[in-house]
Amino acid sequence: MLEIKNLQVKLEEEDKQILKGVNLTVEAGKVHAIMGPNGSGKSTLSYVLSGKDGYVVTEGEATLGGEDILEMEPEERAAAGLFLAFQYPVEIPGVGNMTFLRTAVNAQRKARGDEEMSSTEFLKVVREKAKSLKIDAEMLKRPVNVGFSGGEKKRNEILQMAMLEPKMCILDETDSGLDVDAMKLVSDGVNALRDEGRGFLVITHYQRLLDHIKPDVVHIMYDGRIIKTGGPELALEVETQGYAHLIEEEA
């Protein structure tokens, strides 16, 4: 599904290397988690994959379903099936959540050459999916993320994911700012989307999220590289012992 080979990235504005050769393959139907201390390059990886400005790929490649995504515009990557659930979802005043969702769904369909969703069909689907995330009609009507609590913003991200039905989902610290109940709700939303055709890359600081979204593979990232890969037990090891011993092993 997602294949990253020797990805090296520096900042556009200053000569600072952030990713120093990342290798990672996420297969369809699998959930991979990336953990790592602050500043290790986890969020950068998610931004580079989704096409944010400000980064320069100096070497390596990233493909989604065999297609090179690094040369694509962000909207092309989205249409190709990539989805980034933002750590800090952006507020868009004056644009209704529903309008935004429908515009996004239809823009992607159009880009793929599919027929646009009719408004009745869209309404039906969005209501159903919103309900399971406990997103009420009021929240659907409100401007995108404006005045949403931390939990509401993250639930809204998952709703977008559910509506857009991407092939590859990247979750960037989706657990940050969530209380226990909200984390459960968000995780249930993610788990409902798990299926054979879809890959997940879950970036997190805490093992806690991985209790809910059970990963198949766990990677530890440090200083722009993946320094260790293992099963779910690796996350538990980090939880109890921290990163220091893993970093020492690497050095």
Partner: protein
Amino acid sequence: MALPQPKQTATDARLAALDLPEGGWSAPARQSALARLQAMGLPGARDEYWKYTRPDTLVAAEAPTAAVFQGDEPLVFDGVERLKIVFRDGVFDAEASDPLALENIEIARLADAADIHWAQDLYGKLEEDGQTPVERPLAALNTTFATDGILMRVTGKVSKPVALIYYHESETSDAILHHVVKVEEGGDVTVLENGPAAARFNKVMEVDVADGAGFHHIRAQGRDHERRAATHIFARLGAESTFKTFTLTVNGVLTRNECVVELTGDDAVCHIAGACMGDGDFHHDDTVFVTHDAVNCESRQVFKKVLRNGATGVFQGKILVKQGAQKTDGYQISQSLLLDEDSQFLAKPELEIYADDVACSHGSTSGAIDEDGLFYLRARGLPRGIAEDLLTIAFIAEAVQEIEDESLQEEIVGRVEAWLLRRRG
């Protein structure tokens, strides 16, 4: 004191090209306005209040010609249930208008109002009050020479909006209209205005809002690229009254909208908002003056300008809090979204406060499209153009939300969307 020679010459030339409407109840007000106008002279490029906007084409004896816009899409507010009052190049069109009758409101034309008329106490009066501390000569000219206008007296809640619809049909039309609105205690009315009106348009609206009354005004200034307009609203607010005005301006080589409001009764609320969409040869000036002269009043000024291809936006906004106007809550924000490096926004926000227990804030910013928002939308699959349009709508949202009625908000947003769509081709 004699006027400087260039100003005297310009004023004389303009006055010579106009005819003073004769007789009737408005004659004394017109004479008084003429005397005031002659004393102050028409605005010139050296006047401080016209530092950012050149008045010459607004003042010239002849109106510069303006091509009539050809477009076939439905006009704004077309879908709104309303009482229609139509003017073509400043001339009332009875056939296209609805009968001037509606419950809780008395409507008459300035041009044929009876000899003794309630508007006598207001016509030119609020305009005159609004001449201090800053002179507004084009408004005095309007009071003197207005050929027509609508006089409305509101005595209760009016069931549907009263719509003033202006059509521009002649390339050389030069229209001067003067409306007077008196909202009596317990009255509540919504007034809509749309259309480009004339090649050159000078309009004054005087609004007297009595204690506990409400006045809502939503205006869309039309699409004609070459038209020019100088408009004034003068309002006086009684205790616990509400006054809300919103203006959307799309295109137009020159627009100057002045809004002068005096809060004279306690607990009054005044919201003045505007959004403009300018592309290329476009100059838009919002000049606002709000005077707090009562206790516990609230005023908001919210102006948003979207500018591209060398368009210019101007904001001169002032809040004056008089001695004794305690517990005033004043807010003023003016912002521009500059879509390229050729466009400019000139802002002069001012606060002048003589009371010691008030909360007043003001801010002014200029910026480009928010990159984080743009990336967020594109990451959801929206092409750059559509994403930029949505962010533009987001940018003006704070101003549009000043419109209380949601369906009228949608009308306005619909026009903005159409404008954006045309720009993307």
